[in-house]
């Protein structure tokens, strides 16, 4: 039944990648400069891929919607990056990182991909250190490590609470070096609005110059989509305001399959929502759980302020429920536990939608200075936003949409179902299964960009004879006119509601019905509601200004229009997956202790959706997941 | 040698030259102040110092030429960087406020905002000063044939000069209070151990220079001394020619010779009362 060829190489898992690299075809050095590669997005995956391909000699063009490549949202990642270096001598290995990641992903990821990820993780750290990324160090001058959720070893490298920033700036510096050399051309303030396929291959993109408003055509021999996730479908998320699904969604509509969109990660430690004007949620790094203890009052009616509640009246529910991992359980588990307590009425804050994250013990044991050195910037940020001092009063936190494990389906080579279209980083679905462990996103983005795509893209170019095409090709003409038509449509509706109001409405439906807990009735309702919002959007949206200028409302309109289609697919996928796994929790499928219950017999597969037209239901394809190395067990952190 | 011109033309290079010339000019100020302080020892010491200094013709020429170059570079760069800095923001802000929390002086009074202005005023003062003392053009009649000490007293007792000298050196101090600290930063001389000292050195140096120099016109008014009664330069020269070296370094003996008659301006004004 499956049309999906994962192209996982034969052989024992530890040798697959090495063997595969030996078998991949190569492009001769002096031929590389004849190829043009388009990279969409300049986050960790995009910048690292573009820089590495440029170094190899390809001509690369990068595009980002921000005003500079350095501002991609990878920059906001706080906690760290995992690598199987075993520097602390605590028993880590490639195998353990592989195993933890597969287990953490609730056995819904592709083994071979995860193993490769663990394998190259050590090289990433080497590469970043060589670039001058200032990782935290011990007094002896060697690199420092810390623990992260879902692991019993310290394998997380970090740069205070700004690891993403430092890694991205490292990749950005490598990118800038290639721009300086003329191998990469960097186009900022450009948004990809569609993909151009010629003879079944991805051969170009239509982007909008966000300053002049002009549509521009770019032709290439391969297109790398590094556009991040779709968390903003929920309106409120920890994603940047501009993060969107448009590029990926356009590719889906041009023939790429969308895999597992229902896998969304709700991060347990975010600053709670405080009002309807709120535009985004702020993450407090998971690393805080290393020293912070999560609790709620034992008594539902306890309205005392937290510092007045004695130890005996506090319920450290994570330590109580999961004694082995305690506060360091994976994100999905921690989030659901917080929701469970709040649903039962134990929640704190005016809204009752928050739990405490307490540093009292850590400060008493280690001193405020030590805590400041580890989390200073996070505490500072928390104080800025809430006007409370977390050194004195416990933080209030609540889960928020943070990362999306689903994405465009890719094979082992990171190639989508459209030949020549590669998908890297959060935009693809491959490595995290149904739940991503902390400090693994940075690892995956850089692994894809530095160490996978440069090999596999070359293989594609070497093994396919691609015809020379230019931007006058009728396919470009066709796609551009469709894009223009859509822009004209937005501007011509002249309705009465702002784009944001639709986005907010969609977000509420998504959060209520496709959030931390889902059920069939709710999902049916979501599909119906989303269709209704979409219908109204196309009748009644108001986009001010014109298309020939910098017009942020127009940009948002395009993104929200796509979220309104995408949200429905997410709900459909959640509905079809009749089990609970990782970030996808179906209330119908839980153990008596309210833990997620997987159905390995029927759902140990990737669901990949094929677009069938705007009015038709998409087709759900399956890629069976074969676990040859890891035994499927009920995930337990007790 | 393109690297030299490139470096000098760069923004950091210009600042570097600015700092170096400023530093050397500060050196000149210190020497000048020390020389002038001899006024407090006594007229003869001061006069001897002045004559000895001026007898070193070659040295004076070189020094004057050097100073001229230093001033020229410092002033030229001042104008040029100022012009360039203005060019870099042609549309000004409608509202602009400082964000420095521990600011001791309000923003609109901070010396760094007036470096060109204070520089120009100090330069004008310098011209007046040179006109008075070096080129002898402001009051040639009164000063003709007078000893340096007497000249100084006469000039500094002229009310207009008194005011311009005091304003001149106070503005110089204001200029230095930013300039000296800034110089350390520009030359890259920073270290946590010495930073508090460096932060203090600008204002302290500025106060020393400003107070030091401003004290002379005030002193000139306060001492009971009549410069017109003192012997002229020819008599003095005769005398000094007969002096031995030991006389020069033992100035106190000549000090006794000066007269303290109530001819001084101060004394006369007292008499009037």
């Amino acid at each position: 039944m499956s049309l999906l060829q994962s192209n996982v190489p034969e052989g024992p898992i530890a040798e697959k990648w090495t063997r595969h690299k030996n078998e991949l075809k190569l492009v001769a050095p002096n031929n590389k400069r004849k190829y043009e590669i388009l990279v969409i997005g300049t986050g960790l995956a995009g910048a690292s891929a573009a820089a590495s391909l440029g170094e190899l000699g390809y001509n690369v063009k990068t595009f980002c919607y921000q005003d500079s490549a350095r501002r991609a949202h990878s920059i906001a990642a706080q906690g760290g990056i995992n690598a199987a270096k075993n520097y602390p001598n605590d028993g880590d290995s490639v195998w353990r990182l592989f195993y933890d990641t597969v287990k953490g992903g609730d056995y819904r990821s592709r083994e071979a991909n995860v193993y490769r990820l663990a394998e190259v993780s050590a090289n990433i750290i080497d590469q970043c250190v060589a670039q001058g990324v200032p990782f935290a160090r011990e007094y002896g001058g060697l690199l420092a490590n810390r623990t992260f959720g879902g692991a019993q070893v310290s394998r997380t490298f970090y740069a205070r609470g700004q690891t993403g920033q430092q890694l991205l700036l490292g990749a950005y510096s490598a990118l800038m070096r290639q721009v300086n050399k003329g191998k990469v051309q960097n186009f900022a303030r450009r948004e990809m609005l569609d993909l151009v396929n010629i003879d079944g291959n991805a051969r170009g993109v239509i982007v909008r110059n966000m300053v002049s408003g002009k549509l521009e055509r770019y032709v290439g021999d391969a297109v790398l989509l590094c556009t991040g996730g779709y968390g903003n479908a929920y309106y409120l998320s920890t994603n940047a305001m501009g993060c969107n699904v448009t590029a990926a969604w356009r590719c889906y509509k041009r023939g790429a399959y969308y895999a597992n969109p229902c896998y969304t990660q709700i991060h347990p430690t975010c600053i709670p929502v405080s009002g309807d004007y709120q535009s985004k949620l702020t993450l407090m790094s998971e690393s805080l759980r290393n020293d912070g203890r999560v609790w709620v009052p034992k008594d539902v009616n306890d309205k005392r302020s937290p510092e007045q509640i004695p130890e005996a009246d506090r319920d450290y529910y994570l330590e109580r429920r999961y004694p082995a991992f305690g506060n360091m359980v994976p994100r999905d588990v921690a989030s659901r536990a917080a929701k469970e307590r709040c649903d039962e009425g134990y929640g704190v804050n005016e809204s009752g939608r928050a739990v405490y994250l307490d540093f009292k013990r850590a400060i008493a044991e280690q001193g405020q200075k030590a805590i400041e050195a580890k989390y200073g910037n996070l505490f500072h940020m928390y104080r800025k936003i809430t006007n409370e001092n977390p050194y004195e009063v416990p933080m209030k936190i609540y889960p928020a949409v943070h990362y999306t494990m689903g994405g465009l389906w890719v094979d082992y080579n990171l190639q989508s179902t459209i030949p020549g279209l590669y998908v890297l980083g959060e935009a693809n679905f491959s490595d995290h299964g149904a739940n991503r462990l902390g400090a693994s996103a940075l690892m995956q983005g850089l692994a894809d960009g530095y160490f996978v795509a440069p090999y596999t893209v070359g293989h594609h170019l070497a093994s396919n004879k691609l015809e020379k095409v230019d931007t006058n090709n009728p396919a470009f003409e066709q796609v551009e006119s469709e894009v223009q038509g859509r822009i004209d449509k937005f501007l011509s509706i002249k309705g009465s509601r702002s784009v944001d109001s639709f986005h907010r409405e969609l977000g509420l439906v998504m959060w209520d019905n496709c959030g931390m807990a889902r059920n069939a009735a709710g999902l049916h309702e979501a599909i119906e509601k989303i269709q209704g919002i979409r219908w109204e959007f196309w009748q009644n949206v108001r986009v001010t200004g014109s298309g020939h200028q910098l017009n942020m409302e127009l940009e948002k309109a395009g993104r929200v229009a796509d979220f309104l289609e995408f949200g429905e697919l997410l709900a459909r996928d959640a509905l079809a997956r009749e089990e609970s796994c990782g970030g996808h929790f179906r209330e119908e499928h839980q153990t008596p202790e309210n833990e997620a219950r997987r159905d390995d017999e029927n759902f140990a597969h990737v669901a990949a959706w094929e677009y069938q037209g705007d009015d038709a239901t998409p087709i759900r394809h399956q890629e069976e997941l074969n676990f040859e190395n890891v035994k499927l067990t009920q995930r337990s952190y007790k | 040698m393109a690297w030299v011109t490139d470096a000098i033309k760069s923004s950091i290079g210009k600042k570097f030259l600015m700092a170096c010339t400023g530093f050397l000019l500060c050196g000149f100020l210190v020497m000048h102040l020390i020389g002038n302080l001899l006024m407090y020892v006594g007229p003869d010491v001061y006069n001897n110092y002045a004559h000895t200094l001026h007898s070193q013709e070659m040295l004076i020429k070189v020094a004057e030429f050097g100073l001229l170059i230093l001033f020229a570079i410092h002033i030229w760069l001042g104008f040029e960087t100022n012009l360039e800095n203005r060019e870099s923001r042609k549309t000004r802000y409608a509202v602009k406020k400082s964000k420095i929390p521990e600011r001791k002086i309000p923003y609109f009074l901070s010396p760094e905002n007036y470096m060109l202005f204070t520089g120009v005023i100090v330069f004008i003062f310098l011209l007046i000063h040179l006109g008075d003392f070096t080129f002898n053009i402001t009051m040639p009649d009164k000063l003709k044939g007078r000893e340096p000490y007497d000249k100084a007293i006469i000039i500094m007792r002229t009310p207009l000069s008194t005011i311009s000298y005091i304003i001149g050196v106070l503005l110089l101090g204001w200029h230095l209070s930013h300039g000296v600290t800034s110089m350390f930063q520009t030359l890259g001389l920073k270290h946590p151990k010495y930073d508090p000292m460096i932060r203090a050195i600008g204002p302290v140096f500025a106060v020393i220079i400003a107070v030091g120099f401003a004290s002379f016109p005030i002193y000139a008014w306060l001492i009971p001394y009549d410069p017109y009664a003192a012997p002229g330069v020819e008599e003095h020269q005769e005398k000094s020619h007969s002096l031995t070296h030991s006389d020069l370094i033992a100035p106190l003996c000549s000090h006794e010779k000066t007269t303290f008659e109530p001819h001084s301006a101060w004394a006369t004004s007292l008499n009037r009362v």
């Binding site: 590495s52 250190v129 940047a240 535009s279 409302e553 | 923004s11 290079g13 600042k15 964000k99």
Partner: protein, 250 residues
């Protein structure tokens, strides 16, 4: 609270801009500054007016997109804070708020409060990198970096490239930005091989972009949301001096 906003409106790079005044009757003190602007924009859209364009993205103070002068101060009155992290509790009922774009000839205004900061990218392209290709790196722990230097390098590396230093400087100088990057690499052994060429090229590019010189007023340090110290500027001067005298490149 009620606020009177005076906001710079400019349609594009070519046209002249002007201040327009808007009244905003209920602003919650819990809002961030940008959320307050969101509310204004909602209102403008409902009146069929064009909303105020401003750069923003992460709204966590790390991406460096947001960039506006608030009552004459880059990113507003809070220290070590970007405009997106500034909260309305810093303002009082009845306040007048003046909002302007960064002003520097090297940062031309594109629209309203949006400016073009690509000059920063070009400075980075001139030398803000270590020339190592992917895949050549030795083991990460084969290079020992004293913790003190690693921490100082990190402090310099936290620059978010927002341009507040340029905006706050009376000369629109980019010295703090350039010095942060030069310092990061100068403090790490990885940056050593290209140390001299890097500083020479980056400074040359900085001058070419039309930023002003440094007058050591320290306004940049006070305006910097990442708390980059002016000590880095001293280090940049030192590095530049050393490189000028000893670089073997012409």
């Amino acid at each position: 609270m009620k606020l009177t906003l005076h906001i710079w409106r400019q349609s594009n790079k070519e046209t002249k801009g002007e201040f327009k005044t808007y009244e905003l009757p209920d602003v919650s003190e819990h809002m961030s500054f940008l959320e307050m602007l969101d509310v204004l924009n909602e209102k403008l859209i409902s009146q069929n007016e064009e909303p105020v364009a401003f750069d923003h993205d992460c709204r966590e103070g790390i991406c460096g997109s947001c960039s506006m002068m608030i009552n004459g101060q880059a990113h507003g009155p809070d220290l070590k804070t970007t405009a997106c992290q500034l909260h309305m509790r810093k303002f009082k009922d009845g306040d007048d708020v003046w909002i302007e774009p960064w002003r520097a000839d090297a940062f031309p205004v594109l629209k309203d409060l949006v400016v073009d900061r690509s000059a920063f990218d070009r400075i980075m392209q001139a030398g803000a990198f270590v020339s190592v290709n992917t895949g050549n790196a030795p083991d990460a722990n084969s290079t020992i970096v004293p913790k003190m230097n690693a921490d100082l390098a990190f402090d310099a590396a936290t620059c978010i490239g927002c341009g507040a230093c340029v905006a706050a400087c009376k000369n629109a100088s980019a010295m703090l930005f350039v010095s942060a990057k030069v310092s990061q690499y100068a403090l790490l052994p990885q940056g050593d091989p290209e140390r001299k060429t890097r500083v020479l090229r980056m400074v040359a590019q900085m001058d070419k972009e039309g930023f002003g010189g440094c007058s050591n007023t320290n306004e940049c340090e006070a305006a910097c949301p990442a708390g980059i110290s002016v000590n880095n500027i001293a280090r940049l001067n030192r590095e530049y001096f050393k490189a000028t005298l000893t670089s073997r490149e012409s």
